[in-house]
Symmetry: C2
Subunit: 330 residues, 2 copies
């Protein structure tokens, strides 16, 4: 049986839109994924979102009328209080679009608007790895490095809707620091994103002729973080060095974040987890992050602050958007 | 006329205890400072606090009975929810002392307990440089580098009462990084505290024989951040380099903080401000901090995030403690 009231969480990305029907305990009762069809523009996608919401299977004794609010998560740049997408690199046809109010008008429901990093953080905080935490920092490792910070009831969204841009913490002040996608040197994202891992690996390969990565590249495979993960898991020394060095940079950023926020814990999500909690390499990666971060912070914080993998996988943003709608609806 | 209700703010330091009678708009109606007499222990000091509160001049038509709550700010380490001082380096005879409840019992009033960095931040946020901000990061430059972070209604006190330890952000990852008082390399406090400035200056003097600082040291003066400030103001090139390099390290830490929190602004308090807003050197110091920090952050944040000197001076903690009592009393 569903725990009414019901909420809808929408995680709107550049490729897909995930839509979930979620109850007040975080149970997912139905969900679907529709293509964003970015170039068709926002009004088209909002119409299809509305259709998809109508076609969700409502649990017995409930109906669409039991949905009290919707949470909408999108990538930035955005104006969260204004409900606007501003200039989102992954949604180039959606610039300066009042996405919150357009969706609310189309579906006739209150819509809470959040950054996708914040929403994923809230999902983990609500029913995932952060369930027992009172404050949490969430880092998501993918093409970039995303972040969300939750302190008690407060989502750190930022006065300019740029809160928790922790992919842009500086982890290297040297003259040879890597340049981030944003143009600045030394940012965490330039080291610990999939993009950063690929670049660091590519730069190091010439000096590591014996790496098994070379064999795969000679067969015209494209270098990827997944390939690094696979070869590291098989024992390739250079690939493993890349994995542990990635952990070292993350440990630096996380140490600074722990000294700034003193949260209950730090949760690591995203696909670039080198196998995650069920693999030996993934646990080596996590333990190296823990070792480096804890070696840099006050002993009491090193002892008490949890550093864990996320639990919800790719639905974190969708679930978290629904959770934000539940918690923060007017 | 006073704006009842009234509040008392207490800023308890290792040397002095500042006590202020403050109304709901932040006006200070009376204040005093009594010696901590640290080695006499906490119960002695609490008795003298109570006596001092009795002797405050209450504005006409008000009396001690109009005081509805007290804010108490102390240095750490502490357990804020538990109201305990744990192991405060500046109050060695106060270890494991239930300071909040002991004070409440003595004076018969509700006591809100806060870290002194947070209290000073709240003072500036309430009626100082942060008055028009909706979120604020406060850095205080003194013997160490203290910090307080306020996001809307939320004081970032940390789950282990270690929130906003931003003096321990890493601003130098090189092998030659300076060692912080906490034992770790590269922390902001090792560069941008008065202690850090003195050490950096002492280390550089041998290579700067022409610096006018040498003359003063030859007269048996002790090297201090104030001396560096004075000689820099008089035009000594090396002293000025130290000032601007201090600003550079602060700019690094502040850039990371802005990317993490996206606050309305960053406010710089504390006595080590190289003359502060009314001096040309102080403004050069502030402008270099702004230049470095803004050069490292997203353009929209560089444009919008204020970086300013504090306004309240040494009463910020006392006023902020009263403000916290006003805002957060049960």
């Amino acid at each position: 049986m569903a725990n009414a009231p019901l909420f809808i969480g929408i995680d709107l990305g550049g490729t897909n839109i995930k839509i979930g029907l979620i109850d007040s305990l975080g149970n997912i009762h139905d969900r679907c994924s529709i293509p964003t069809l970015e170039s068709e523009g926002p009004q088209n996608a909002i119409q299809r979102c509305s259709d998809a919401i109508d076609q969700l299977q409502y649990p017995s004794a409930t109906a669409r009328s039991d949905v009290v609010a919707v949470g909408l998560a999108t990538p930035g740049t955005m104006d969260i209080p204004g409900g606007m997408l501003l200039n989102p690199p992954n949604l180039p046809h959606w610039c300066d679009f009042p996405v919150r109010d357009a969706l609310a008008k189309q579906i006739g429901l209150h819509v809470e608007f959040a950054n996708d990093g914040t929403a994923a953080a809230y999902g983990e905080f609500w029913i995932g790895s952060g369930q027992e935490m009172s404050s949490m920092i969430f880092l998501t490792l993918g093409t970039g490095v995303g972040c969300g910070i939750i302190i008690g009831e407060t989502l750190v969204q930022g006065v300019n809707s740029h809160g928790a841009e922790c992919g842009h913490l500086v982890v290297d002040y040297s003259d040879s620091a890597r340049i981030c996608g944003c143009g600045q040197p030394g940012h965490l994202e330039a080291y610990a994103s999939a993009t950063g891992v690929v670049k660091r690996t590519a730069d190091g390969l010439a000096a590591h002729r014996d790496s098994t990565l070379n064999g795969r590249l000679e067969q015209d495979e494209r270098l990827s973080a997944k390939m690094v993960s696979e070869e590291a898991a098989k024992g390739d020394v250079f690939a493993r060095e890349i994995v542990l060095e990635t952990a070292m940079y993350l440990g630096r950023g996380i140490a600074d974040l722990i000294h700034t926020i003193d949260p209950s814990g730090v949760v690591l999500g995203g696909a670039m987890n080198f196998g995650g909690p069920r693999s030996s390499l993934g646990m080596d990666f996590l333990n190296e992050i823990r070792r480096v971060a804890r070696g840099k912070i006050f002993p009491v914080l090193a002892e008490r602050t949890r550093i864990d993998f996320a639990r919800l996988g790719s639905v974190a943003g969708m679930v978290g958007a629904a959770g934000i709608a539940r918690q923060f609806q007017a």
